[in-house]
Symmetry: D2
Subunit: 392 residues, 4 copies
Amino acid sequence: MLGSGFIGRFYADSIQGYRSQDKVVSIYSRREESARKFAEDYAVPFWTTTMEEAIARPEVDIVCISLPNNLHEEAVMLCCKHKKAVMTTKPLGRNAAEAKRMLEAVEAAGIFNGYLEDLVYTPKFIKAEQSVRNGALGRILWAKSRETHPGPHSDWFWDLEQAGGGCILDLGCHCVEITRSYIGKDIKPVEVMCWADTQVKPIEAEDHAIGLVKYENGAIGQFEVSWTFRGGLDLRDEVMGSEGTIWINSFLRTGFDMFTTGKGGDYVAEKAESNTGWLFPVGDELNELGYNHMFMDMFNALEKGEAPKETFYDGYVVNAVLDAAYRSAKSKLWEPVNLEVWRGREGVGKDSHLIEWDADHYLVKEEMTHYGAKKLILKHKVSGAFIQKVLE
Amino acid sequence: MLGSGFIGRFYADSIQGYRSQDKVVSIYSRREESARKFAEDYAVPFWTTTMEEAIARPEVDIVCISLPNNLHEEAVMLCCKHKKAVMTTKPLGRNAAEAKRMLEAVEAAGIFNGYLEDLVYTPKFIKAEQSVRNGALGRILWAKSRETHPGPHSDWFWDLEQAGGGCILDLGCHCVEITRSYIGKDIKPVEVMCWADTQVKPIEAEDHAIGLVKYENGAIGQFEVSWTFRGGLDLRDEVMGSEGTIWINSFLRTGFDMFTTGKGGDYVAEKAESNTGWLFPVGDELNELGYNHMFMDMFNALEKGEAPKETFYDGYVVNAVLDAAYRSAKSKLWEPVNLEVWRGREGVGKDSHLIEWDADHYLVKEEMTHYGAKKLILKHKVSGAFIQKVLE
Amino acid sequence: MLGSGFIGRFYADSIQGYRSQDKVVSIYSRREESARKFAEDYAVPFWTTTMEEAIARPEVDIVCISLPNNLHEEAVMLCCKHKKAVMTTKPLGRNAAEAKRMLEAVEAAGIFNGYLEDLVYTPKFIKAEQSVRNGALGRILWAKSRETHPGPHSDWFWDLEQAGGGCILDLGCHCVEITRSYIGKDIKPVEVMCWADTQVKPIEAEDHAIGLVKYENGAIGQFEVSWTFRGGLDLRDEVMGSEGTIWINSFLRTGFDMFTTGKGGDYVAEKAESNTGWLFPVGDELNELGYNHMFMDMFNALEKGEAPKETFYDGYVVNAVLDAAYRSAKSKLWEPVNLEVWRGREGVGKDSHLIEWDADHYLVKEEMTHYGAKKLILKHKVSGAFIQKVLE
Amino acid sequence: MLGSGFIGRFYADSIQGYRSQDKVVSIYSRREESARKFAEDYAVPFWTTTMEEAIARPEVDIVCISLPNNLHEEAVMLCCKHKKAVMTTKPLGRNAAEAKRMLEAVEAAGIFNGYLEDLVYTPKFIKAEQSVRNGALGRILWAKSRETHPGPHSDWFWDLEQAGGGCILDLGCHCVEITRSYIGKDIKPVEVMCWADTQVKPIEAEDHAIGLVKYENGAIGQFEVSWTFRGGLDLRDEVMGSEGTIWINSFLRTGFDMFTTGKGGDYVAEKAESNTGWLFPVGDELNELGYNHMFMDMFNALEKGEAPKETFYDGYVVNAVLDAAYRSAKSKLWEPVNLEVWRGREGVGKDSHLIEWDADHYLVKEEMTHYGAKKLILKHKVSGAFIQKVLE
């Protein structure tokens, strides 16, 4: 490297941060055809349709579980048996009981365990979370995450037995961990209210749901999930704090707009539901959706013998929140979050935020009106009466 | 007019649609100073601090009530007494009981009554509602409206007795009528779940709330309201239908971005919480917020002897929904909407929307994958099993 | 009006600002069928295919010329003859010679003359211009206006003889007046460089052009115009000042996004080139494109006996700039703007903007780097050497 | 890897695509302090203030030049001497003569040479270019690239001798290569018109410039560059084709909006000119600005013994275009691009794009009017007359 200035540093950051030294060495699939094709496409030296065989091989350092939800537990138990580090796609279990068994098993076996919640590893989320932790938004009051699209890719998602649930489990697991991370992973989620319905799809599970998660410190989490959304993938977070706001859009309208009549060629845009008219492509999906930063964290943690940012414990907490959401959707009540394992803080109350204006008054609000004056709303400390005061 | 082509028509539409023939002829205010100043600023020939005097004057064709919520009923009753047409700012009453008394009084008196819900008259809403009515979105599944800002302008809003409520009543009345209009004003709202809290402000009323309103046909309405939002006025609607989506932003980020260091002059942007950095001014607030189209509808309806789009009946329905929201925020239950007066349809069920793929299967979903193939998810009509099929 | 507070003022502003008292009383069209239809649609009592007849009628207070460009001069001369106030659609003439004859004629006749340049009357422009005049952007360095779409509506636009030019004349007239207004209408445009080509359409005139307009004070105006743009109407302005930036989008992406599969109904969106997929409707075109505020200014000025914001003089200056653009497109040289009539300032030079840092240095720049330090770039006053200084 | 489905593939793509195997092994800086700090921060085993020493070390596979412009040639010549593969930051030379000497030297030495033009490697650009190559936009008519910000980071940029130019050379080199890539790197740039001025900064070089680059096939490139922009980094491309449009925003407003009062903490946003109010952070700058994909291409090409996407030849073409821009800014004429070395196509003319409507007419345009009719503009093949036809 010649030059150590601004651009030299940019270059070095990038050179030393890319081009993988990590390789897939063994692939298992339930169907031979699928295993064989994957092995071919990704130059994987070994393939099999026997799960244990894939796991047990000596060259395997860490097992990555990207199977349907109903197979997670079996795969995790095999990793425990063979003492292999393991990372599992989201959600961890189909419910908190499954998740708890997996959590206890990996901890008993003493193996590395990572929970592949990619959406708390997106570049935007990482930067936003830093700002929140640094206090840029003050006290967090509300965090909402929305993930909606026209439905999942594979058949098993639609089957209640294999999937364990509908869009709440499939998409809500992202939203719960995102909002929990903004509010603080050490703050306890206490109860959940959820509406869910099957509005459009010919399935038993829910295809649309909205939920509220109350935290011990008075903050509120919200998820909006659906498999009935039309127009592509909608992936947005909003956070309100006493001193600021964050809006994140992770997919549509992120700086790339394209119009095409479709006459010019055979172009097809991904997930866009159409290939003519105005389209909103995403440049580098893997990076925007957090995969790169997620695996970097997992592998770095594994090498250092540390826990990654997201572990099976986090997966378990998410499952416990979603269980409460499912119960609430049926009972129509606020349902408590049952957390038999809880490692965060307890008894965190609401902060007081009275702002003193003068000896007699608290400040309620100050504002510029549309006719140009500065207006104060004050509350008398003793009488509680509200007055307004216009300053020129 | 010379020329009757494209531009001639544009010009004529505008020429015949603007520059008011309507004048304020009488102004009442509780404070003399305020009445006098208003009369001066708007060239109003008569001012008074006696409400009945303002109403009774013969040159008054219609009375416009823009008073604190606790004075609406008194003012309406005086209009009934003097048989004056009346239009009232939102919300109609502090609760459904007040609203119902006003509704019954104006109907008994046989006078014109208009409900000044400006946000269903914004140019964007009007066009969006048309699209929805024309079927562009298919069956409406969900409609959300969000209005949040750093708190209202005048002292009385903050006083629970005068206002009758906090941000649910102040902002939720907009959101309920907006979402109800998307879903269909003839569809009955049946129950409400609401979370509310006082998170930041030193007041008794709620400063933040989220509510769900279930409609008889299975559609779901949602409101998000707050007086604690930082960053200006956030006014957005979202609608999901089985065939489409609408997103409306009525304030921030609507095509006008400005950065200023603040060194250049004394510029102050309204409601923006700051006058330096990136600001998002709105060109013509009156028009963007629906006032122009609202009064045009009111006056045109009055002249034709017809009801306007929004009447006291609508104000009453909104109050009934909000009453249920307040009850729910306390009881933590889904609370029924008590509508003693209901003039819409009854017993509207959910539509079935099974799409037949072939003799044996329903279509669940079709999609383009990120590796370029077209994939179908199908459900077997008899067995209920899900299969996927890849078409090249 | 009951109540004189915040909302009462909003209501009054709107009530007294809308619902027209102005009516079209006489309509002329070259084709009888067209005149008759217009009269019917807009309830116009008199129609004719004889231009002078339409103008001469005693009930006509002001004549609005919305004819093809080649008929403007004839119509203006008839207005002069009958001493009728006149307002003319843009561009004023097909060239500066025509425009100058019209300007001199209306001034000799002493009649009111308005130039219907609607895009300097859009709500966004009006507010932006105010900010610029108040100094929010400091000294204006550059102002660009872009108007592109897939081509005009009527046959005569495409005919060089009737139109007098292609997209430079049709769209550039807007852009020149917009940028000139940002830079200052009293600052003299001195020379123009323009590229123009006929890239797509089977016509003699240009269908795409880019031009630069140099002003006496060193500011630069820019226009980008095209009839070949795909994706609807693109209407954007950008302004750079020494202390700030303005970006205005007047059409696409202004807070209204709609996705529709098109299965739901027969909805058609205007100017959108498609009626399925993602569409970007505009709520109230008349208002967003400036027509309402333009005619309000015209009629108010007429009643007060004053000149409107835009007169034939402005139309003439625009034509002179566009003439230089056409000459430049052919000569490939910077062409001088020939302004035989100029009523603004003369000899305005460039301001100096040296910022002193300390006794020995000027400040070139201060900045926060991506690794968190504050960095200054300074220039030595005598030696001219540049140094950087990092402040922790 | 367990599971080879949709998510398994996503994971594998990411796992095998990240976490670098590439390391900086030797660092040279002109200042010892700076070299030492870099070595420490990036764990570089060897540092020196002697350029040749850094290059000559046996463990160096490729030399990365990130030095001020005036030192590029010297560094390149040393790489030739030691037969080391080399990649150089942009611009390649201070002018085409320097660039040509470097190009000829590396080719004579037979060494790998890469031109570090990161902005044609951004994820958005890569995807957009693919769409363009696949025909989604039809024939490319115009490509514009804009890069403006409040000025560069280091002192040497501001010094004309070291930098070789102002914002044209610093930023225009990006814009020229971006637009050239959209139009087609095998299409010859033929002439350039450029306006440049020093409007704000106390420097000899230009701080603001706008240029047009004409290509042999009639397409037009445009660059807008400035060191006087206020509001952060503005990095946008626009492309118009006969069948579509692309708009790319690479920095501001890409899906991450944050408002902060600044009271909550010490947060500082990069390049944002302020740390309160509305800010627009970018999640992962290195990726968004193209560095990751650029080095991946460079190293992969080096390993395979192929040329990377961007070589010294491209750097030379860019310098030749910029030389013409500088000449034009002085001469005020369209200046020819002098390309003594040209390896693309020659004599590419403009395509004809007449669309036949019927035996007698060409189609000029079809459109939906705002009053709901479908209108055609046709041109008679023989007479050239334009007619319009309304289809119901």
